[in-house]
Symmetry: C2
Subunit: 209 residues, 2 copies
């Protein structure tokens, strides 16, 4: 019941920097947010930031890592797994959207800076995540579970929905995380499935194994 963000326990400064910075980056963009604004939000002086992070860029870089590291691992595992591709996509979607909703950071700004040359070293893993996602969709089309839609466009639409969810929940660590995740995953599956009656079976299958 006791968690660092809901009870009176003090949150370490470094953690507060990540949270306030992510919130400001999400609202005003990475470049639009100054280190003085971040410091004000954390209630420390501006140079004190550099006691916890080597540079402003490194704050953003850590937020990118938080966003991508676990997601990429889950997506690649599901892409290589056995069983129904539609079920695997559903399982990945629920996990990732739930993760986004539970996250104490506002990861809105990540997609906005990932193409910036400043974060070129973070691009490859993001592209690996995209490839894994598209792979699952293509498997579902080949297996006949999904309509023969444009796999590229479908992958994009999914990313866009998740990206929008990031922007919406915005690091509030919302309590209805699982509910939102299941609603959105259902929305996506309905748009792709040939036979909508399979939906219930896919959900039941995803939740146990």
């Amino acid at each position: 019941m006791a968690s660092p963000e809901t009870n009176g326990e003090e949150v370490p400064t470094r953690e507060r920097i990540l949270r306030e910075a992510s919130r400001l980056f999400g609202k005003k963009g990475f470049h639009g947010t100054s280190t003085r604004e971040i410091a004000n939000a954390v209630e420390i002086r501006q140079p004190s930031l550099f006691h916890h992070f080597p540079s402003k860029r490194d704050i953003m870089a850590e937020l990118i890592d938080i966003d991508h590291s676990e997601s990429a691992a889950v997506a690649e595992r599901e892409a290589a797994a056995e069983g129904s591709p539609a079920c695997r996509l559903y399982r990945y979607l629920v996990w990732d959207i739930s993760f986004i909703c539970r996250c104490p950071y506002d990861l809105t700004s990540v997609e906005g800076v990932i193409d910036d040359p400043l974060f070129a070293d973070k691009l490859e893993r993001r592209n690996a995540l995209k490839r894994a996602r598209r792979s699952i969709i293509e498997q579902a089309i080949e297996s006949g579970e999904f309509l023969e839609v444009d796999a590229d466009l479908a992958e994009k639409a999914i990313v866009w929905i998740m990206q929008g969810d990031i922007a919406e929940t915005a690091g509030q660590a919302v309590p209805e995380a699982d509910q939102i995740a299941q609603q959105l995953a259902t929305f996506i599956l309905r748009a792709l499935l040939k036979d909508q009656d399979q939906l219930a079976a896919i959900k039941a299958d995803a939740h146990c194994g």
Copy 2:
């Protein structure tokens, strides 16, 4: 056949500023793009920008207006129109996505700055656009055409998909605009419709009147 962007006719400097600025804003963000970068892309000197726009902010403000003015008008007209709500939503979606794809500007950055206090005066029309969109969805749910989903979440998912499309087509004035628009609108309708067999009738109805 002859259009300003495809043939050899010279594009006015003011227009080139809007196009190059929107492209840079989309890639590096509004605050991340300097007026010198814009000027370099247009092949003029930095102070010459201010001969065409009073400030950097006014360049972004004009892009916001381009993105929202026509869209809000169409959405509000369809929200107040007669006939099948599902059909009206489809008609609006195809129009707006097609508009985005045809647009010579990269409007990616608009959603990223709309919450910035710097553009507070542009927020109300954006919210009006959101209200009109949600209104059509609610009408479709009440009429029984759509599943009884969370109207708010559905509206968000739609916005997110369109927002993603903006980021993707990125002011390239893509030739397959209508095709992409119809694919995405179909994707959305499939996720929301109770009876998928109505899809063909909705499309036929939308295209004539």
